[in-house]
Subunit: 316 residues, 2 copies
C-alpha cells in the first residue's frame, strides 16, 4: 500500500498562504478557460444528526493529480465538544488512477481555498483606493476572508457585524490581535461600507437591497448549497459586474441563482471569476458582486500543490 496518510500538522507546514493563493488562482483561471473536469457536487443530508455532506471531485486537465473531497458539517457537534466541520481529501493519480494520499485536513484546506478565492476576487473587483471593509458573519470563514484579503491589500479598518453580538465581539478582538483594526458595528453601517463580504449560513437575505446602496463591491461566500441565500435578489440588477466561480453551481444554489429565479437578472449575465483574475480586466463603473460556491477544482489544485510541496520537503 503506497497510500500516504497526511495529518493536519504536516498539511499546515506545506499549505502556506502563497501556495494556496497560487493554486486557487490557477484553478479558477483553468476553470474559466474550460481546462478542468468539474462534475456537479454530490450532497447528502442527515436530518436526524443535523448534518450534511458535500462530495466534490475536481481535476485541472493535464495535472498529475485529481481529487475527491468529502466535506461535512454536523451542526450539533459543538454540543459534544467537536468541530462542526470535518472532512478529508483523497488525492488520486490522473495517470494510473491509483490513490496516492489522504489529506486528513479536518476541513481546513476547504476553509483556506475558500478564503483565497474570496480574497482574490474581492481584491480584483474592489476599487484600488478602498481600504475599509465590512464582514457580515463571525465564523471561521469570516475571519479568514479578512485575514487573507489583508494579505493582498492592507486594510485600514474592518467593520464586523454578526447575528450574535458575542460572536462579533470575539471576531473583532481576534482581528485586532493579529494587527487588523476592527470594530463591531450595526448591520446597516456594515452593509453600507464600500467593500462588503458576507460569510454567513443565512437562508434569507441579510438586509434589503437599499442597505447595500453604498457598497462598491460585495463578495458573497455563504450560499454553498440549496436553501441558502445572503444577498437580496434585487441587488443584482443594480450591479454592473456579477462574477461567479462556477456558472452552473451559482445558478443552482448561489445568490446569483436566487436573483435569476426572481427575475432580476438574466442567467447569462455573469462573468467568470477566473476570467477577471487572469486579466487584463478593466472594472466597469458601478458596483460589482462576486458569488462564490466553491469549486472542486480548487480543492484539487491546492491538494496537489500540498502533496508536491511535502514531497519536496521530504527530498531535502
Amino acid at each position: 500500500m503506497n497510500l500516504a496518510m497526511v495529518g493536519l500538522d504536516e498539511i499546515r507546514t506545506a499549505a502556506t498562504r502563497p501556495l494556496v493563493f497560487t493554486a486557487v488562482q490557477e484553478a479558477l483561471i483553468a476553470h474559466a478557460e474550460g481546462r478542468t473536469l468539474a462534475p456537479p457536487p454530490v450532497h447528502l443530508m442527515f436530518p436526524d444528526a443535523n448534518g450534511d455532506c458535500h462530495v466534490k471531485a475536481g481535476h485541472v486537465i493535464g495535472a498529475r493529480h485529481f481529487t475527491v473531497k468529502v466535506a461535512t458539517s454536523f451542526y450539533d457537534n459543538p454540543q459534544a465538544g467537536l468541530s462542526s466541520n470535518n472532512g478529508a481529501v483523497l488525492v488520486m493519480s490522473a495517470t494510473t488512477g491509483a490513490p496516492l494520499a489522504l489529506l486528513a485536513d479536518d476541513g481546513w484546506l476547504t476553509a483556506w481555498r475558500t478564503a483565497a478565492a474570496g480574497a482574490l476576487i474581492t481584491h480584483a473587483l474592489t476599487p484600488a483606493d478602498v481600504r475599509d471593509v465590512a464582514i457580515l458573519g463571525t465564523g471561521v470563514q469570516a475571519r479568514l476572508q479578512i485575514e487573507w484579503l489583508h494579505a493582498l491589500r492592507p486594510l485600514d479598518h474592518v467593520k464586523v457585524w454578526g447575528r450574535r453580538a458575542e460572536g462579533a465581539e470575539r471576531l473583532s478582538n481576534d482581528l485586532n490581535a493579529v494587527g487588523i483594526n476592527a470594530d463591531v458595528t450595526s448591520l446597516a453601517d456594515a452593509a453600507s461600507t464600500a467593500c462588503v463580504i458576507t460569510a454567513t449560513a443565512a437562508a434569507t437575505p441579510l438586509a434589503p437591497a437599499e442597505a447595500f446602496a453604498d457598497a462598491r463591491h460585495i463578495t458573497a461566500i455563504g450560499a454553498d448549497m440549496p436553501g441558502k441565500n445572503e444577498l437580496p435578489p434585487s441587488l443584482f440588477s443594480a450591479a454592473s459586474t456579477i462574477a461567479t466561480d462556477d456558472h452552473t453551481q451559482c445558478l443552482d444554489h448561489g445568490d446569483f441563482g436566487s436573483a435569476v429565479r426572481a427575475g432580476h437578472v438574466r442567467p447569462d449575465c455573469d462573468t467568470k471569476v477566473g476570467t477577471i483574475l487572469r486579466g487584463p480586466y478593466s472594472r466597469p463603473p458601478g458596483s460589482s458582486i462576486a458569488d462564490l460556491t466553491g469549486i472542486g477544482v480548487a480543492d484539487a489544485s491546492v491538494a496537489s500543490a500540498v502533496l508536491d510541496s511535502l514531497a519536496g520537503i521530504a527530498i531535502r
Copy 2:
C-alpha cells in the same frame, strides 16, 4: 487524527464471503424500501490516460456509517505492470461527519460486492433445478460471479465464452482448479444455456436476441457506465421479469435503459432487485433478466460491516 488506514490484507481477513453476502443483501433490500441515501454517481473521464473514475456515495438510513467510494479503471496500466482497477473507500461517521477509516482495497470491495449482488439475484431468479450456467466474459468479475454463485448453489457445469480464446481457457482452468467443472465453448452454445451471466466491457450487444432464446435467466453485470451494452435491447421485450438494482442508474446507463430507449419495454416495467431478495417472491413463468449497475449503498454496507468486524477482531 483518529483516521485509520486499512490495507487489503486486513480487509481480506474481515470481508468474508458470508459477511459480504449479508451486507449486500441488506443494502439491496434497504434500497428497494427507500431507506437509503444514494445520490447519482459522479464520472470523470481521462481520455489522455485511457482511464475513468466513478465516485459513489451511499448510506443506509439509520446506519452508523456512510461511505464515499472512488473506483478507477485505467486501461493502459497492465502495460506498466499495474492493475487496471484501483480505488479506495472512505468511511465516515453518519453521526458526526468525521472520517473514520480509509479502506485501501485496490478495488476489491467493489469486485466482491458486485459478485455478491450478481450471485444473489442470479440465484433468486434462476429456477431451482438449473445447475448449468454460462459465463460471457473472462475477467476477474466473470470468475467471481461463478465462484460466488457456486457458493449459493453448487453448479454442475459452467460454460465459458470470451472474446479472446486464451482468456476463456484461463478462466476455465481457474474454475476447475477450485473444483468447479468448467469448459470453454462457443458464443452460440454459451448464450443458449439455461442461466447466462454476462460480465464484459461490451459497447454493443454480445449476440442477437435469438441466441438467448433458451436462457431462462440472464444476469448482466457489465454495463456500469454510459456507452456500455451487453444484451440486445429486443431481448427485454421477451422477459417476464426485469430486475434492476437501481431504477434510475439502470435507466441511465444499464442494458435496461438501452432497451427502453429502443422502445422495447416501458421505463416502469422493472422490479427492484431488493424486492425480489426480500421476498416473498414467486417467479412468474417465462424468462427473467437482472440488470446490475452497482449501487453505492452496497459499498457503504460492506465497508461498514468490514470496519465493525475489524473493530471486533481488535477487541478480541
